[in-house]
Structures are given as structure tokens and as C-alpha cells.
């Protein structure tokens, strides 16, 4: 599935919710279901420090040529947002990740979580995901 198809899938899922509470209950659920990041990757090197919540991100290039992400956060809503980012961006080609426009966040009405004022680490995490992809891409081409 392409990045765009995965975004559409999330948008359709969220269209089912009648109110904000169902939406946030779903995000909290996604946060709880996010696969645990391996302890060896939950290091200070992998930390993206927001003022509010902390995010750990690990990226690796698989032999198949896609970038695989694992991540964690100490805040569950941030973690739910991370789960969606990973669902959209993980196991995709690095060039697609680097150029992805994550419009689904806006369309499901959660853009405020990517506002710099939230400083929850999410915005920095997306930058970092793209940065890793560019680095992997450069390595591949080099």
C-alpha cells in the first residue's frame, strides 16, 4: 500500500467517529497497541525531546529497500499519533517518505498536535523520519 493509500485508510476510519471523545479514545487505544520499542533502541541517542512529552525513534533500512521505524513516547496521546505516523511511513521507500505530505493529520482534525506550541516532539519526529530517509537514500545512491 502506498503512503497515500494508508492516509486515505486512516481518514476513512476517523470519519466513523461522531465526536471528539470517540476520536481520542481511538488514539489512546492506538497508543496502547503500538508495538513496544526494543530496549536497546530506547536510548538517549534516539530521544527527541519535546518540552512536554518525549519521543524515542529508531530507523533501519531493510534489505528490501524500505525504511522501518519503531518509536515510543511517555505520553499515550503522543504515542497514538506516533502509531499513525508509523502506519503511514514505515516500510516505505526512503524517497517516498522524504517527499510525503502528511495531509491526513489535518483531515482528521488533529493538526494541533503538530503545532510547535505543543512541543510534544511529534513535529521533530516527522522531521527526523524524513531526515533518516534522506540519509538512507544518499547512502544507497552513494
Amino acid at each position: 500500500m502506498t503512503i497515500e493509500q494508508r492516509q486515505q485508510e486512516i481518514i476513512e476510519e476517523f470519519a466513523l467517529f461522531d465526536d471528539w471523545m470517540q476520536k481520542y479514545e481511538h488514539i489512546i487505544e492506538l497508543g496502547k497497541e503500538l508495538p513496544v520499542i526494543s530496549a536497546e533502541y530506547k536510548t538517549d541517542d534516539n530521544i527527541i525531546k519535546g518540552c512536554q512529552s518525549r519521543v524515542w525513534l529508531h530507523a533501519e533500512m531493510l534489505n528490501s529497500g524500505v525504511v522501518h521505524f519503531t518509536a515510543d513516547s511517555d505520553a499515550i496521546i503522543t504515542k497514538g499519533m506516533i502509531a499513525m505516523m508509523i502506519r503511514v511511513l514505515s516500510d516505505q521507500a526512503p524517497e517516498d517518505i522524504a517527499s510525503a505530505d502528511l495531509h491526513f493529520v489535518n483531515e482528521i482534525g488533529l493538526h494541533q498536535h503538530l503545532s510547535p506550541t505543543r512541543s510534544n516532539g511529534l513535529l521533530s519526529m516527522i522531521k527526523q523520519m524524513k531526515f533518516y530517509s534522506l540519509a538512507f537514500q544518499a547512502k544507497n545512491n552513494g
Binding site: 481520542y24 479514545e25 489512546i28 518540552c51 503522543t78 512541543s119
Partner: protein, 406 residues
Amino acid sequence: MTEYSIERIREQFPILNQQVNNRPLVYLDNAASNQKPNAVVDCISNYYTSYHANIHRGAHHLAQLATEAYENARTIIANHLNAHREEIIFTYGTTDGINLVAQTWGRKNLKQGDRIVISGLEHHSNLVPWQMVAEENGCIIDIIPVLSDGTLDMAVYDQLLEKKPKLVAVNQVSNSLGTVNPIGEIISKAKNINACVLIDGAQAVSHFEVDVKQLDCDFYVFSGHKIYGPTGIGVLYGKKAILEAMPAWRGGGEMIKSVSYQSFSVNELPYKFEAGTPNIADGIALGRAIEFVNSLGLNAIRAHENLLTKTATQRLLEVPGMRLIGTAAEKTSVISFLIDGLHPYDVGTLLDQLGVAVRTGHHCTEPLMNALGIPGTIRASFACYNTLKEVDIFIEAVKKASQMLS
């Protein structure tokens, strides 16, 4: 004094009358910045629509009106603090005032090996400016530790004074926990060893009357936006003799008496520290904000806020896993708390969805949060316009958020 009429007060704050996420706004982020009454907003608008001009230098009518209004605000502030006009320096805010003292008095007087005492309750703005001077001049910063209830360990303070610090810089009220520090005792003990004392009054001025002469501190700083006034304006009070001995900081217009290509001589107080065209509109409006709090009476405001704080504190304890951070006997209208197993950011996000504005995080007191071993807190803070009904909404919102996250 007239009866404390919450309806009449709220009428003066139209911003409060709005919906957030389809619910009535409950604004409980007052310790970060409180809202502005019509009198203050109108004052700014009136200035720009009626008599704006650059102050002090002009010979024309508008310049004279603007100058009079700006200097009148200085007099209002001086009277409010029981200070002289020339001891009131307009700044951009508390942080700016502390930096001014650090970069002038500090750089001149704090030498290699000199000690600076601050408290473990300080906002970064009363820590970093001293770290900058300490790094440059080779000074040592000592910290008064914070006890588990959020009060200062005054026994350790006594010990730190034995090392003869040159400066004691503490806040009157903690922004993170609301603890009211015993600044009378802190100042008098510091004065016994001739230490200079700076008091950060940012969190105090909207709750307490301040008499700088009685306190006998050397410097007192606060921000306009924490006392129902505008952002971008603040006050540094300094004892006249100390201000006179201090070198100027920012250079430019207004702060000089005469200038040649070879040299300059500095203007008299308070202009010596006010280089450039000042924030005229907000200075005038700050005077108006102080008149506003005095019209309600700070004692009446505090009594009202205490009722809200006491009620909210008791009712928060109904929430399972509730942990209050900072339980000092003397507190302002700040309640910092955590709920076991829940991250402050998550709780804050859901409260926002429920129309309740609180602050979450380390509140610019990272060392304090580290000392308490917590990532941050959820902080609710009340002002003169909050109501008991809003306390109810807040408590129900906390319960709802807690239930959703558990």
C-alpha cells in the same frame, strides 16, 4: 469596600465569554498570563487612536500628552510599590529586568569566587542570567533546596549565608507550585551579611500588595501581563543609590545626557536604563492595570482566589491516584498535580478538548522538576474572574480525562 461581584468583574473580560471546542472556555492558565480587562484594552486603543507620539523629546501637543500619560503610569507604579519615580525602570518583563541587573550590577560586582544564592523554586529566568554572569566572571551559584511540601529549606539557607554570598535572588512566589516564600526573612537575613537581594515578583503582584521599602530588597522585578496588564512591558524597581552606581546597559537614544564622537554621558534615573523609544502604549496600560487591581482590592481578590483554590484542592482529592505537587501552608491560587500513571501532556490535551485551559510541562523550572523526580505537572491557576462553577467544570473535566486515560 463594595461587595465582590463576580458578574461585574467578568463583564470586564469579554475574552472569557467564548466557546472552545464547543464548550464554554474555562481559563485556568492565569499563572502563565492572566486576561486583560476592557479598561486596559481600551487604554491601548485610546492611546493609538488619540494621542500617539514619541515621548520626551517633542515640543508638540501629542508628544506632551503621550509623555504625561507614560510618566503618570510610572508614578502609579511607584506609588503602588511605595517607591520613588526614579527607582522605577520600564523593562520588557521580568526576564528582561533580571537580565538588566545581571548584565550591569552583576557583571560589575560579582567577581571570581563570589557566591550567588538562588532557590530551587526559581523560574529559568532567575537562573540562566546568573549562570551567564557566573560563567563569565567565575562565580559560584548555591541553591536553597526545596522540601517535599514545596517550601524552601531555610536551615540550609542559613548555612549558605555563612559563605557570605554577594547576591541572593529568589522569587516571592513559585510559578510551578504556588509556594509563597518567606521573603521578609530571606531579605533581612541577607541584609545582615550585606548581600544584595533581588526579588522576582512575577507570580506575586496579582495577589499581594508589595511595599519595597518595607521589604528592603535592592531589586524587585515583575511583568505587566501577570497583573492584568499588557505583554511586552515590565518593571524593575531598584534602590536609587544602587541604580545610580550601576553602569548603563543598552546604549542609544533617551539614555544619554550628551554624546560626542569621543564619548557619551548617561542620563539621570530612570532614563539611564531606558534606551530607545519605549513601549509607550503598554507602559500607560500597565498603569491602568494597576488601577484596575486596586479598584477591586488585592485583599478581596486574594480572598476570592483562596476560596476557589481551597475548594478545587479538596475536590481534586476525589480523583483516584491524585497527587498534589506543592502543599505549602502559604500558597497562591496555583494547584500543581499529577495523576498516578498518567502523563501531564495527555491530561492537558483532554482538558483542552473539554474547554479547560491549564498548563502542562515543567513550567520553565526543569531543575525543580528533576529534583522532585517528576516529568512535569498539570497546573491550574485561578484569577479574580474565575468562579466556583468553573471549579466544578474543571473537576468534572479532570475526572473525565482521568477515566479516558486509565
